[in-house]
């Protein structure tokens, strides 16, 4: 008996091994906010460590920037900035390691630089955080000017100026996210003069929190979140020069797109707002909603958000539909321990992990490429060809809601209202269905109006005729 059970165990073991593999790396959410597994849209294609570049391990890298084929890594703990270049074979070559800058003949080393930005004219902007300054350098890393604590009454005297993240928009305005500044992004003009604040988060609190706060003790109150605007966790510039900001508070809008006035112009037409995970448990000590630590925008106005809570990357299209989400916490390739920054190169993604001290490059799979092509076709107004690609996507993933809606949209434009209604209904796309139904109803009425009129006519005329004939008959009989 024991032998048999042992034999059974041996037989089952390899099976168990297969089934214990994680299968939910990439997923999506359906109309009911339930997770649906999906084929991989992105796969890790390179895993870059400091040692693999020959400069020793990274220590707490915080910042990442990509322009063209150049990748900048802020190796904050080592007080240096690395510049890599990607060649056509996809190899990452170290170009330079910079750890100081020459100011007026003196060498001034970096102290925990947390972000870097390369402007379109090639100038570099660096938030040299623990030196309390923002540096502007030219393309050869020569000092141009530095921005220090602004002499402004809105900035308290005893508060340190700790610039963390920055972007420079097309007009040369510098937007800096500084630590402990909750009035929004600090805006400097292209000469480095402080202008003001932009795009503060609205203060949000709910009534129950307010009641709790008013009845709790001082010690309890100190442990609670304050009712103050929330600091942004990161900033990014998109193709049109708008500023994307993320915040990792778990409150307010996790991702926003700001115009020059600081107003939020992000489109949120998806099933749910772009907030990351919709359904989550409390597994392995990881709890709570997604907290976006970084955001990056693609050419087709899609954007990807990096979730600190579960090490996931959420990608949304320009309408706010979730395209796919992938990643997790772990030590494997494609998994993260402590996400800090996310950048894009074309459609490839670079994700920086501060605890694993590693940079991961993700490339689109065929499936992901198809989705993006379909989106681009749709954005260009070529609905028919986008529908053809969506059909292909459906063959790979029958649970892809956007594909159904895309096909419905093309059918609607071709005048096939019933097909559009069918596809829209499958995925609960109400606005589209309403539109298709309205047109279908009109068409139906035009085609069938004569039938309705005929039936109505018969219903009115026949009784009248019968009545009349009876009357005639009576008259004849009486006559």
């Amino acid at each position: 008996m024991k032998k048999i059970s042992l034999l059974l165990l041996v037989c089952i073991l390899p099976l168990l091994h297969v089934f214990s593999e994680p299968t939910k790396y990439t997923y999506n959410y359906d109309f009911w906010s339930e997770q649906v597994v999906s084929p991989d849209a992105y796969r890790p294609s390179a895993y870059i460590l400091g040692t693999s570049l020959g400069v020793g391990n990274f220590r707490e890298p915080q910042g990442l920037f990509v322009r063209g084929n150049r990748v900048y890594i802020c190796d904050s703990g080592n007080n240096r900035i690395l510049k890599l270049e990607v060649n056509e074979e996809g190899e990452h070559n170290l170009v330079s390691v910079v750890s100081s800058v020459i100011i007026d003949g003196d060498e001034s080393p970096f102290n925990y630089p947390m972000d870097i930005f390369e402007n379109r004219d090639g100038c570099l902007y660096i938030t040299d955080t623990n030196n309390h300054r923002v540096l502007k350098l030219d393309e050869d890393w020569n000092f141009v000017y530095s921005i220090t604590k602004p002499d402004d009454e809105s900035f308290e005297e005893n508060m340190e100026f700790l610039p963390v993240k920055l972007v420079v928009d097309f007009a040369g305005r510098i937007f800096v996210q500084a630590r402990n500044v909750n009035k929004g992004l600090m805006e400097f003009d292209n000469r480095g003069e402080f202008v003001g604040y932009m795009g503060a988060n609205k203060v949000k609190f709910n009534f129950i929190d307010y009641i709790w706060k008013s009845i709790s003790t001082q010690a309890q109150r100190e442990r609670m979140d304050l009712f103050i605007p929330i600091e942004y966790s990161n900033v990014a510039l998109d193709n049109d020069g708008f500023v994307y900001v993320s915040n990792s508070s778990g409150q307010a809008d996790p991702v926003r797109r700001l115009n020059a006035m600081g107003q939020d112009i992000l489109i949120r037409n998806g099933y749910e707002k772009p907030i990351g995970d919709l359904a989550y448990g409390n597994a392995g000590g990881i709890l709570g909603r997604s907290r976006f630590i970084d955001v990056t925008a693609f050419e087709n106005d899609s954007y990807a958000c990096f979730d600190r809570t579960r090490g996931r990357i959420f990608m949304y299209d320009f309408q706010g539909n979730l395209l796919y989400a992938f990643g997790s916490v772990g030590n494997k390739e494609g998994y993260f321990l402590q996400p800090v920054a996310l950048e894009k190169m074309g459609y490839a993604l670079y994700a920086l992990d501060s605890r694993a001290s590693a940079l991961t490059r993700f490339d689109l799979t065929g499936y992901g490429q198809m989705i993006n092509t379909a989106l681009n076709e749709y954005k260009a107004g070529r609905y028919e060809s986008s529908a053809e690609i969506w059909e292909q996507v459906l063959k790979m993933n029958g649970n892809y809601d956007l594909a159904y809606i895309g096909i419905g949209r093309a059918a609607l434009r071709q005048g096939d209202y019933q097909k559009a209604m069918k596809y829209y209904k499958l995925k609960h796309f109400r606005v589209g269905y309403g539109k298709a139904f309205q047109l279908y109803r009109k068409q139906w009425m035009e085609e069938n109006l004569w039938k309705i009129l005929l039936i109505l006519g018969i219903l009115i005329i026949v009784p009248a005729l019968i009545k009349y004939s009876i009357k005639i008959g009576k008259e004849i009989r009486e006559a």
Binding site: W32, H428, R430, Y433, G434, K435, F437
Partner: protein, 218 residues
């Protein structure tokens, strides 16, 4: 059994059912006569409640998806039935218990009848709305939502009028007693939950005792 062969009984049922339409449009008169002039019947009330349940199930299953978000995977008709029957039952009991203390004139049967008759507009409007939802578009949804709100308001108003008439209350007293009734319903539910959890604990205790004895003694 004798009822079903009695022609006069059927006639009475028809009249009392028809009377529900009169109640809708003349609530004060209608509810007064409903109990004091014996113009209503329990059989008719049962039929109205039954139809209300059927219409509710149809509403949840047949309404166009534009106007209703319901995941058919988790649809359970029994729960829908309970969602209508239970509140009626609870209201009847709680309201009766309360109004006997607040010198209300109504009997439990009267309260049940009044509630059932008050459901009439809800049933009729919802039945119309199911058909309507399939011929209007999303943009015209305003009509649908106005109708839905109207049905609920009308029914609520009828319930108030009914309570007022059968207990012979003033309006303020009716509203007060209705609010207290809702509290009472909560109390009943609470007591039931506590009772059932206690009973299940007790049962579990005796089962474990029995098992223990089996282990030790035998």
């Amino acid at each position: 059994m004798i009822y079903f062969t009695d022609k006069a009984w059927w006639q009475h049922l028809r009249d009392t059912l028809k009377y529900s339409l009169y109640v809708c449009t003349h609530p004060l008169d209608g509810f007064w006569d409903l109990v004091h002039e014996k113009r209503g019947s329990i059989a008719a009330a049962n039929i109205i409640v039954f139809v209300a349940v059927v219409v509710e199930i149809l509403r949840l299953t047949l309404t166009n998806f534009l106007f209703i978000s319901i995941n058919m995977e988790f649809f359970n008709a029994i729960i829908v039935v309970m969602r209508i029957i239970l509140p009626i039952f609870l209201w009847t009991v709680a309201n009766w218990g309360l109004t006997t203390l607040m010198d209300g004139k109504g009997k439990m049967v009267d309260i049940y009848m009044a509630i059932a008759y008050a459901l009439t507009p809800y049933v009729i409007i919802n039945a119309v709305m199911i058909v309507l939802s399939r011929v209007i578009t999303f943009e015209e949804g305003a009509i649908y939502w106005v109708l839905a709100g109207f049905a609920v308001l009308w029914t609520g108003m009828l319930i108030l009028a009914g309570m007022m008439m059968i207990h012979d209350y003033s309006l303020t007293k009716t509203i007060l007693s209705s609010l207290l009734t809702i509290v009472g319903m909560g109390v009943i539910v609470f007591v039931f939950v506590v009772f059932f959890s206690l009973v299940s604990d007790a049962v579990a205790y005796f089962i474990s005792l029995y098992k223990e004895i089996l282990f030790r003694v035998i």
